[in-house]
């Protein structure tokens, strides 16, 4: 097995990985290698055959696949080496990753490694939804691959589990496949769907208004043996059950980072995001190993991931120039109902960074006051009229300067 050398090895050729690679090349890094396990580079936007991409990065409105292609073309034009069908299967040592590919096994040693492995939706089984195991159960991702990538039949009538941003993606894909959407289900008191601006926005909004959204409901079980015949739902307020007939169920959202490479490398993981623990400069617990994009937490937009990739590139370029790795960092934890905080650790050299701490909530909260403590010390409080799940909130301010990097963990919680 041969070991190849590169300066920066990026795992994952999605928006975060490719934008980072391009930025590294622009900053004069000679050898940047991006590996991706898929046969084609571009990441998740490749699957999103609807518009809404590119406004922030390219000042143009693109469909997902076009947006992905733009990044791939740019990366290639900048001399980035992209290796597809290359799966990272383990760590040879702290800076060498082993891979498998149709050309055989190998390893790549790099001075810096960026993990940009993305995110997936929790499937039905991980959500412990009981019942039989019939055909017709999807996640948004598998649905998009069925419809747009493979042009396979889906069904006739679907229930979408979830009512957030990605649920709209599932909705659009089902429209395209001529599948009627019987209902959206959400456990929360309100849906969390916000239409991004698109030329056809009002057409979509009208369509959505004609689709029932069942709030405060939970899917109780899936009916049907060979093929889905319906879902039985529980109304959480009354405890009553109801059956909705359908032949397709799409589970949307409920993100879990694709953290296999990170965990195989024994990086410190964050209990909230379930991604690798990083500081505000995308540094993981291992010197020289960085992480950016949705592997860090439940999905943000492609534009956010791409932006993080660029920011991480600047830090990596400085690291290659000899900028020292911080010796100490203090973890950031959250208490329920808050879901996660990110960055989830703070290091001495980036306490004054412009990047604010962000967080999400697991439940709707009205008139919330979020407080940040380090041990007994109250560092910051901030009031929010309401907190909505699947939305990201920021805690900017000068309070970061009062963090003691050698002190106790930082805790975010509701006052």
């Amino acid at each position: 097995m041969s070991t190849q050398e590169t300066q920066v090895l990026i795992v994952g050729a999605g928006p975060a990985g490719l934008s980072s690679a391009i930025a590294l090349k622009r900053q004069g890094v000679a050898h940047v290698t991006v590996v991706d396990r898929e046969p084609e580079a571009g990441g998740m936007p490749r699957l999103c055959h609807h518009t809404g991409f590119g406004v922030w990065d390219f000042h143009r409105l693109y469909s997902g696949p076009t947006y992905a292609r733009r990044y791939v073309q740019l990366a290639l034009a900048h001399g980035v080496e992209i290796r597809t069908e290359t799966t990272i299967i383990g760590w040879e040592d702290g800076h060498t990753l082993a891979y498998s590919s149709p050309e055989g096994l190998g390893a790549i040693h790099a001075q810096a490694i960026l993990l940009a492995t993305g995110v997936r939706e929790r499937p039905r089984s991980a959500r412990l939804v009981p019942g039989y195991r019939p055909r017709g159960v999807f996640t948004t991702g598998s649905l998009q691959r069925f419809v747009d990538e493979r042009h396979l039949p889906v069904g006739r009538r679907a229930v979408i589990v979830g009512a957030e941003g990605v649920s709209l993606s599932a909705f659009l894909t089902l429209q395209k496949a001529k599948v009627k959407v019987a209902a959206f289900l959400t456990e929360h008191p309100q849906h969390q769907m916000v239409w991004p601006y698109t030329p056809a926005k009002w057409w979509y909004v009208d369509l959505l208004h004609r689709t029932p959204i069942h709030t405060q409901t939970r899917i109780y079980r899936i009916l049907g043996r060979k093929r889905v015949e319906g879902v039985e739902i529980t109304h959480l307020d009354s405890g009553q059950r109801e059956v909705i007939a359908c032949d397709t169920v799409v589970f949307t959202g409920d993100w879990i980072p694709e953290h296999e490479v990170a965990r195989k490398g024994d990086l410190v993981m964050d209990a909230g995001t379930r991604g690798p623990q990083v500081d505000a400069a995308f540094r993981t617990s291992r010197p020289g190993v960085f992480a950016a994009g949705n592997v860090l937490r439940g999905a943000e937009t492609a534009a956010t991931s791409a932006q993080e990739g660029r920011e991480a590139a600047a830090v990596m370029a400085a690291f290659l120039q000899g900028q020292p790795w911080p010796e100490q960092r203090v973890p950031v934890h959250v208490e329920a109902p808050l879901l996660w905080a990110y960055p989830n650790s703070l290091a001495a050299d980036n306490l004054t960074a412009a990047k604010p701490l962000t967080f999400r909530t697991a439940q709707f909260v009205e008139h919330a006051t979020v407080e940040v403590r380090q041990g007994q010390r109250l560092l910051h409080t901030q009031a929010f009229a309401h907190l909505v799940p699947n939305e990201t909130y920021r805690l900017p301010g000068a309070w970061l300067r009062s963090v003691k990097p050698a002190g106790e963990p930082i805790v975010l919680r509701l006052a």
Binding site: E85, G104, R120, P123, P130, G136, F146, P153
Partner: protein, 490 residues
């Protein structure tokens, strides 16, 4: 009229396929009948995947004897046929004083059953072996022989060797009726198709009592006992080193936590007697109950992601032993009530059934040659194709990963579709290769896999996805001809 078969075996689960393989050694014309579209689709595919020593079987029973015999036979067979196994050993943990005091009687029982390497260990040793177990263990019983086995590969291996040695397999062939005619069993399947055989073996698992009734016997009734299980992510594998067994009760062996040969961790099973022999649904109470039990045994397990949940039905009867008997005058062997030990006892049962057939007058003349088959490895203990430079160099499709979670390559998928016992359904492909069985459950590869299967087998994807509701599966006959790896239609 066709020449009648010497033996018809009803049921191609792990027991039926093992019997078919065993009798294919002899100069006999054998047919194996299966109601489902593939072998190993009943209790054989939804169990705890443990290769039992039989240390806790009821002494003196046929089950205890055949488990013991089978263990020795399997030791050779799993290596020869490439069945994924891991010889980890079992650790039975006593969580209270009462359980602790039953350990000596369990030890004695193990010794009576001929499992002599079992020993009682202290609480300290329990935690030395399994440091992440919850606190409060009183002590335990260490059973070095309890092991992991791949319950998917085993019946496919048996059936493949049976096919290679001339057995005819009829799939989608649910038996409707059996009658006698001129000293032959006439077995009627779907749409009036009949199979005629001199000897009959009933290995119909959950339906073995119904087949037995067709032969005029009312010796036992099968009550499906549902077991629900939770499969944890491969990252949970590092939490345990052995099969963690509870102290058994009269009804069940109890909830265990066990690694699998695929590198996951299993939690289960529940035990619930049902009326419906097709009810393999999981339930809210079942899964929630398992989570509670899991938390009590291995708290860190619940921090890991769940990969899958499933339920299986064991063929329990009102009796405490197998319902395995010869009706010599009818040239009929009933192999019923195999409960939860079919995988472990399969080779012992098969050998014993062959003896019974001989006793009933069937001459067993060995063939000049018995063909064997090495199964593709889907276990983690040995290198998989994606980890093998030699295989990838030979065929780059072994480096082309389709299912990223389970690292299943295009080469393996194509092999399974074109094997002597070809995968023609998604489920069959899953059990042969593990595609879509990983942590994303098909998020990434399901569409690709449907595409490959539809293209390679010439089937309509609508059929593979069960979108055509009225499509009744047509009976399908699989035989093996040495010159071409092809299935023939009868």
């Amino acid at each position: 009229m066709r020449t009648p078969y010497d033996i018809a075996i009803i049921g191609a689960g792990v027991v039926g396929t093992a019997i078919a393989r065993e009798v294919s050694r002899y100069q006999l014309n054998v047919v194996l009948l299966e109601a489902k579209p593939d072998v190993g689709m009943g209790t054989s595919k939804a169990n705890t995947a443990i290769w039992h020593t039989g240390f806790d079987a009821k002494p003196g029973t046929l089950e205890a004897r055949l488990l013991r015999r089978s263990y020795a036979l399997l030791e050779d067979y799993v290596d020869q046929a490439g069945i994924p196994t891991e010889r980890l050993g079992g650790l039975l943990v006593a969580w209270n004083e009462e359980q602790y005091h039953t350990l000596p009687s369990l030890l004695e029982r193990a010794h009576t059953n001929g499992v002599t390497d079992v020993r009682i260990i202290s609480a300290e040793e329990v935690y030395r072996l399994e440091p992440r177990l919850n606190s409060g263990a009183w002590g335990g019983l260490f059973v070095p022989g309890e092991s992991l086995i791949c319950p998917f590969t085993l019946p496919i291996a048996y059936a493949t060797e049976a096919l290679l040695n001339g057995v005819t397999l009829k799939l989608n062939f649910p038996v409707q009726h059996i009658h006698q005619e001129n000293g032959l069993h006439v077995i009627t399947g779907p749409e009036g198709e009949t199979v005629r055989a001199r000897y009959l073996v009933n290995a119909a698992g959950l339906y073995s009592d119904e087949i037995d009734h067709m032969l005029g016997h009312h010796d036992f009734t099968v009550t499906p006992r549902r077991g629900e299980l939770i499969v944890y992510d491969k990252f949970a594998r590092r939490l345990i080193n052995h099969v963690i067994l509870p102290v058994p009760t009269a009804i069940t062996k109890g909830v265990l936590i066990s690694p699998t040969v695929y590198g996951n961790v299993l939690l289960g099973p529940t035990a619930e007697d049902l009326d419906d022999k097709t009810n393999t649904a999981t339930s809210e109470q079942g899964l929630q109950g398992l989570l509670e039990k899991g938390r009590a045994i291995l708290p860190e397990l619940l921090d890991e992601e769940v990969t899958a949940t499933y339920a299986g039905l064991r063929a329990a009867t009102e009796h405490k032993d197998y319902q395995l008997r010869l009706h010599a005058e009818q040239r009929y062997v009933c192999v019923g009530g195999i409960r939860s030990t079919g995988v472990s006892a399969s080779l012992g049962i098969a050998e014993y059934v062959a003896e019974l057939l001989a006793e009933a007058g069937l001459p067993l003349r060995p063939k000049a040659e018995f063909k064997t088959f090495k199964m593709p490895n889907i276990g983690e203990a040995r290198p998989r194709p994606y980890q093998r430079d030699d295989m990838i160099a030979q065929n780059p499709d072994y480096g082309r990963i389709v299912c990223h979670c389970e690292k299943v390559t295009l080469g393996e998928i194509l092999d399974a579709i074109h094997s002597p016992l070809p995968a023609r359904t998604l489920d069959a492909l899953r059990r042969r290769t593990r595609v879509t069985q990983g942590r994303c459950q098909g998020f990434n590869c399901q569409a690709h896999v449907v595409d490959i299967l539809a293209r390679e087998t010439g089937q309509d994807p609508r059929f593979l996805l069960s979108l055509e509701r009225d499509a009744t599966p047509q009976p399908r006959t699989v035989t093996y001809t040495a010159d071409a790896d092809k299935e023939g239609r009868a």
